[in-house]
């Protein structure tokens, strides 16, 4: 550890001047980042991680102010530097990568010139030299055909490629510090894997220190050497990645790690530890330790005196004075509750060769008539037995939402049918009788949008009861209070408006609404993805509890393979409107896999820093759903193309020994021979 410190933040406090007063967004944070080191700052939304990162490079919004503390950058105190002096550092010695690459680039300037501009401004290179430098750097970040890409405009590139361009721009002047603010959050999991690989590679090739900000523990585990855990504006724990994951010394870190579903077979369908409550508002901070209101081990002392971050071992700091107890607590926490897999055979809901094709026609003048059809779904067949969970996983644009909407009848499928208890359903929701409508309910992705802001919680929950049951007014009120209790919301929420609730609470109401009329099938459209990790865990537990209590079937769609793996009994993997693999959850995650499943599995960041993953990466982008595909839809990106039949013939369905259906030309024995289990690290421990 003799590498020089690039960034030293000492006792930094940052506050924002807002309409309703001063908000202390960051309080007394100290951290060091050394050369060639990558420091991961983890925290939930509202924890102040972006403020800290931007503040430490003096790039705060106009109403933000450093109220206390010092910042040293490359041995110089930059705390009081003016704009002119900082402008010389930004772009030259400090590179920045933002969350959304399409907003970080100017849509009307060619990529190459945008990148080259940094070198022109900061190093005085002429246009030609800067351009050449840009091309060279693009090649270094493994950009395919850099000269061609440089001549394009941002809208011509996919999100992953754009993010690589932004990284190139940040690296062009070989900065000492690279600040990355959630650089992969807006990307699909396979693209994220490519970008993360790139970041790990850059760590070795460049001298830069990396300041990496994310909410995703798994990402940090994969690429960072050191971690800082932030909560409500304070740093609660910091230390080397491996030791923090193996042996967390702050209850928040411990709970956070316990909140993410582990990718281990024996951990499936178990309760997650989660954290009660929600992150406090920065305007009303609790007394004593900021985490004490949500901490499982807080006592009177914690609520009275605010602890400070103390060195507990070389390079390890924790803000919990009771850090010695943590090891025992961890073992306690690992004892989680397991939920049995109910294995019924009769299908509650079956989808039979469902297809949805859109004609790209708009307006009364039928513009676009005659163009190729957009095939959102192509003969999808899946089914879910009573009381079981079917997880549907796939990247954006794979048709999973279209599938759910076709099942609800919100959109009318072009072909195929949906059967409930073996009875075919009318394709349109308006044609379905009330007795059928009662049986299928849905939980939506975005909790803000799923509740009407003008209706109280009571009104929102009362409506399904009024429609689907013959309860009287008093009984309905009683039932609403019961439902609120079953989703762990206090009865005082009865007359609240959604605007007064947090995201997690709103999602609970959304779940309560779906459960109100006791349906047989609940469609869950990415119900967790808009929420923070600790809140997700509590909702996963809630979904388990409600399933045990009411025995509904779940159709759970998500892009998060780890979450799907954790809660599902059956899994279907979708790609470009097709099911490529469908079977029991334990079978899906054992070889043989469909090559796409294999790629997904090796792309998900593992929250275990010791994990060894197969390095299959998908290049290119998902083809447009209007492309006419004769053979296998995955062929254009498949790392294991078998032969000409992949392009010419639709793949056959192959049934594995464990009833796992795989749609692939490659014989299953051949697949099984070359593929390895994603759990091999787990079994090695």
């Amino acid at each position: 550890m003799t590498r020089p410190k690039i960034l030293e933040v000492e006792n930094l406090s940052i506050s924002y001047q807002t309409e309703s007063g001063l908000v202390k967004a960051v309080r007394r944070v100290s951290l060091d980042i050394r050369r060639q080191e990558s420091f991961g700052l983890v925290g939930e939304s509202g924890s102040g991680k972006s403020t800290l990162a931007l503040g430490s490079i003096r790039y705060l919004a106009a109403n933000g102010r450093i109220s206390d503390g010092r910042i040293n950058f490359m041995g110089e105190d930059i705390t009081d530097y003016g704009l002119a002096k900082m402008s010389k550092l930004w772009g030259r010695h400090i590179g920045m990568v933002y969350q959304n690459p399409s907003l970080a680039l100017n849509p009307s300037i060619r990529i190459g010139w945008q990148i080259a501009e940094t070198a022109q401004i900061h190093r005085g290179l002429d246009k030609k030299a800067a351009w050449n430098e840009a091309i060279m750097t693009m090649a270094k970040v493994s950009m395919p055909e850099p000269e061609y890409v440089a001549s394009l405009y941002p809208h011509q590139l996919s999100g992953g490629m754009l993010q690589r361009c932004v990284i190139t721009m940040a690296l062009l002047n070989n900065p000492s510090l690279l600040v990355m603010d959630e650089p992969t959050t807006a990307l699909d999991v396979t693209t994220q894997a490519v970008v993360l690989d790139l970041v790990s590679k850059l760590k070795q090739e460049y001298d830069s220190a990396i300041f990496y900000i994310t909410h995703d523990l798994a990402v940090v585990a994969q690429i960072c050497d050191t971690i800082g855990v932030m909560y409500a504006g304070e740093l609660l724990e910091s230390g080397p990645t491996k030791t923090i994951f193996r042996d967390p010394r702050h209850p928040y870190t411990l709970s956070l790690i316990g909140s993410i579903p582990k990718f281990e077979e024996d951990h499936r369908k178990r309760s997650l530890s989660g954290i009660k409550g929600m992150i406090p508002s920065l305007r009303e901070l609790p007394n004593g330790c900021v985490f004490s209101p949500r901490c499982f081990m807080a006592d009177e002392e914690c609520r009275r005196t605010a602890p400070t971050l103390e060195e507990i071992a070389p390079d390890r700091r924790s803000a919990c004075p009771r850090w010695r107890e943590m090891e025992e607590r961890r073992k306690e926490m690992e004892k989680t509750k397991s939920y049995p897999a109910p294995m019924e055979q009769t299908a509650a809901l079956a989808v039979d060769s469902l297809a949805k094709h859109y004609a790209p026609i708009s307006g009364a003048l039928r513009r676009g008539a005659g163009k190729a059809l957009i095939k959102a779904l192509n003969s999808v067949s899946v089914s879910v037995p009573k009381g079981c969970t079917l997880g549907i996983v796939g990247e954006s644009g794979c048709g999973k939402t279209t599938l759910l909407r076709s099942i609800t009848g919100l959109i009318e499928p072009t072909e195929g049918e949906v059967r409930l208890d073996d009875e075919p359903l009318a394709p349109k929701v308006t044609k379905r009788p009330r007795s059928i409508l009662k049986k299928i309910q849905m939980v939506f992705q975005n909790p803000d949008a799923s509740l009407n802001p003008n209706q109280t919680i009571a009104k929102c929950l009362e409506r399904p009861l009024k429609i689907f049951t013959d309860l009287g007014k008093a009984d309905r009120k009683k039932k609403i209070l019961e439902i609120l209790d079953s989703v762990n919301l206090p009865s005082t929420y009865y007359s609240r408006l959604p605007g007064e609730l947090s995201g997690g609470e709103m999602q609970r109401v959304g779940i309560a609404r779906a459960f109100a009329a006791e349906p047989d099938v609940i469609l869950l459209d990415e119900p967790l993805s808009a929420l923070d990790v600790s809140v997700q865990a509590a909702l996963v537990n809630l979904l388990f509890e409600l399933q045990v209590a009411n025995n509904p079937s779940y159709l759970f769609i998500s892009h998060d393979l780890a979450a799907v793996h954790h809660i599902s009994d059956l899994i279907a993997v979708m790609y470009l409107g097709r099911v490529v693999e469908f079977g029991l959850a334990e079978a899906i995650f054992k070889p043989p896999f469909h090559p796409y499943t294999e790629a997904l599995l090796s792309a998900i960041p593992n929250p275990d820093p010791d994990a060894v993953q197969t390095g299959i990466r998908l290049e290119g982008t998902v083809p447009s759903p209007s492309t006419i595909i004769k053979g296998c839809a995955f062929r254009s990106r498949c790392p294991r193309v078998y032969g000409p039949q992949c392009a010419d013939e639709p793949p056959p369905m192959r049934m594995s020994a464990e009833d796992d259906r795989i749609f692939c030309h490659i014989p299953l024995e051949d697949l099984a021979r070359v593929q390895t289990s994603p759990f091999h690290n787990a079994s090695a421990r």
Partner: protein, 289 residues
């Protein structure tokens, strides 16, 4: 906060009021707006002189303490005529705007929710109305149907329905894809329920904002029509008509023209300040300049 347990919504009302009160321009706007509104209600009692009383001996008096805004060519008190004239401005502009808001709301909701051919026809019809300069359309309409109060209200409504409908249609298009609307459809709710219970309440704040803006434009329209002799007919006083009559002696008695013109300007400006205030109050994220 509030000690009164029945006022459950008071926190929200309080927040709105606080937000409005923190905007000094909006307060100034509200003050003048309500001054004129009060005059519209009680003007004929509050006026110092009867608005039609002619005192030939006191013709074209300059402003003084006896006649705040002087007198006109017939010796009528200009101030009294302005005060009483506020009534026609508020009546025509106000009822026209309210009618426009109602019909625009219905048209916009239906158009946005059902879409298709109905939407296409309705929106093209709106385009046709909006493609004429509003004063021209008003002139044609009034000269064909006569300058009755009902016709004046109708033309204000006709001119502003398309604008209201467009605002509401845009909101509806966005709202009908919200998850809570989909949840209602999955429950099998009827279209009227979805439109009036799930969608409409969420379109109201922008409708209120648009109404206050439309009202300030309608003051102009009513005054212009009055100026052209197509507004409220004599003997009822009307600001536009006052200006028209005063044109002849602008050089020797400018107050006869300037005072009603100032009244128009003050009311228009105060109404737009008020509408800015309402917008900031109801949609704080928008309207920041």
């Amino acid at each position: 906060m509030s000690s009164n347990p029945t006022s459950k919504r008071s926190p929200r009302a309080k927040i709105l009021f606080k937000r409005f009160a923190s905007n000094p321009l909006a307060i100034v706007g509200a003050f003048f707006f309500f001054f004129f509104f009060l005059m519209a209600l009680i003007g004929s009692y509050a006026a110092p002189y009867p608005f039609a009383a002619q005192v030939i001996a006191d013709r074209l008096q300059s402003p003084s303490w006896t006649h705040l805004c002087g007198t006109d060519q017939f010796g009528r008190d200009v101030f009294s005529r302005i005060i009483v004239g506020a009534r026609s401005v508020f009546f025509l502009g106000g009822s026209g705007t309210i009618l426009a808001a109602f019909f625009g709301l219905m048209l916009g909701l239906a158009s946005g929710y059902y879409g298709g051919l109905f939407d296409e026809l309705a929106m093209r019809a709106c385009d046709v109305v909006m493609s004429f300069p509003s004063l021209l359309l008003a002139l044609v309409f009034i000269s064909l149907s006569g300058p009755s109060l009902l016709n004046l209200v109708m033309i204000v409504a006709i001119l502003y329905i398309p604008i209201m409908a467009r605002v509401v249609r845009g909101m509806t298009l966005e709202l009908k894809n919200m998850a809570y609307v989909e949840a209602a459809r999955i429950r099998g709710e009827s279209a009227p329920y979805i439109i009036f219970v799930e969608i409409m309440p969420n379109t109201l704040p922008p409708v209120f904002v648009e109404m206050s803006m439309r009202f300030s434009y309608s003051i102009f329209l009513v005054a212009s029509l009055g100026f052209l002799g197509l507004g409220v007919q004599p003997p009822s006083p009307d600001w536009g008509m006052q200006i028209n009559e005063a044109r002849g002696f602008l050089s020797n008695a400018p107050w006869v023209l300037l005072c009603p013109a100032t009244a128009i300007a003050v009311l228009v400006v105060s109404t737009s300040l008020l509408s800015d205030g309402i917008r900031n109050m109801l949609q704080p994220s928008m309207g920041k300049r």
